[in-house]
């Protein structure tokens, strides 16, 4: 019984040829998924928040609640 001679060389190269494209592909997919699931919604959330943001109103509300040390609530 004579068996075929097993592959003696190029084993790493063969493995890389198979696995590197997969690795690159999966990394790109991961990056794309993160972009569209996390960063884009976050940018939108910030845009929506600041579209109708009145900083003076917020400041006065915080002042009345008494969280500042530089200005006391009105009436003190």
């Amino acid at each position: 019984m004579s068996l075929a001679k097993p592959a003696m060389r190029g084993l790493l190269a063969k493995r890389l040829r198979f696995h590197l494209p997969i690795a690159f592909g999966l990394s790109l997919v991961a990056a794309a998924a993160f972009k569209f699931a996390v960063t884009e919604p976050r940018k939108q959330a910030y845009a929506d928040f600041y579209k109708h943001y009145d900083s003076t109103k917020e400041f006065n509300a915080m002042r009345e609640a008494g969280v500042f040390e530089s200005v006391r609530p009105t009436g003190k």
Partner: protein, 177 residues
């Protein structure tokens, strides 16, 4: 003195493969108990049942009976003339356990797992005792009242108003969204 007590050898064999004992004439310093116990000579090749040593340094049976000796003589001739029982007898002369017998599952894992669970349970009891006898009283900042005051202050300060804490509070209605 190069001797090992037979009891110790049995213990080692049952654990199958103590790597320290190579058979190339290792000398073991050993304590003698008045020379009564039988001891193994560590200066000659030894037999081990090991999964990673398919051919130990010597056959299992080194003192052959007359029947074994005649069988060994017959082995020198053509092997076709050996019957199945003779071939098995020859195998058992050379080896103690087959690979299948060596690899037989022992059920030791049940003991191990049981021991693990037992001691985890015991630790749970110790932790419980600790909770009642060791820990000091809670800090006052963990009371519900204080926590409520803390949450109110965080909302007043507008902590994380875009996506986080205060974003979930409806300031018009004074309720969580």
């Amino acid at each position: 003195m190069l001797r090992l007590t037979a009891g110790r050898v049995a213990g080692l064999l049952s654990r199958r493969g103590v790597a320290a004992f190579s058979s190339s004439g290792v000398k073991m310093a050993s304590h003698e108990h008045g020379g009564v116990t039988e001891q193994t000579d560590m200066s000659v090749p030894l037999y081990w049942d090991r999964l990673d040593t398919p051919l130990p340094d010597r056959p299992y049976k080194d003192t052959l009976s007359a029947a074994d000796k005649s069988l060994k003589q017959k082995e020198k001739g053509p092997w076709n003339s050996l019957s199945k029982e003779e071939k098995l007898a020859l195998y058992r002369i050379m080896f103690n356990e087959t690979y299948a017998e060596m690899k037989k599952p022992t059920g030791e894992w049940k003991t191990v797992l049981g021991g693990i669970f037992f001691f985890i349970g015991f630790t749970g009891l110790v932790v419980l005792w600790q909770r009642y006898y060791v820990y000091p009283p809670h800090p006052h900042t963990l009371d519900d009242e204080w926590q409520a005051m803390q949450v109110k202050r965080m909302l007043d300060m507008r902590v994380n108003p875009v996506e986080g804490f205060s974003a979930k509070w409806d300031y018009e209605k004074g309720k969580w969204k």
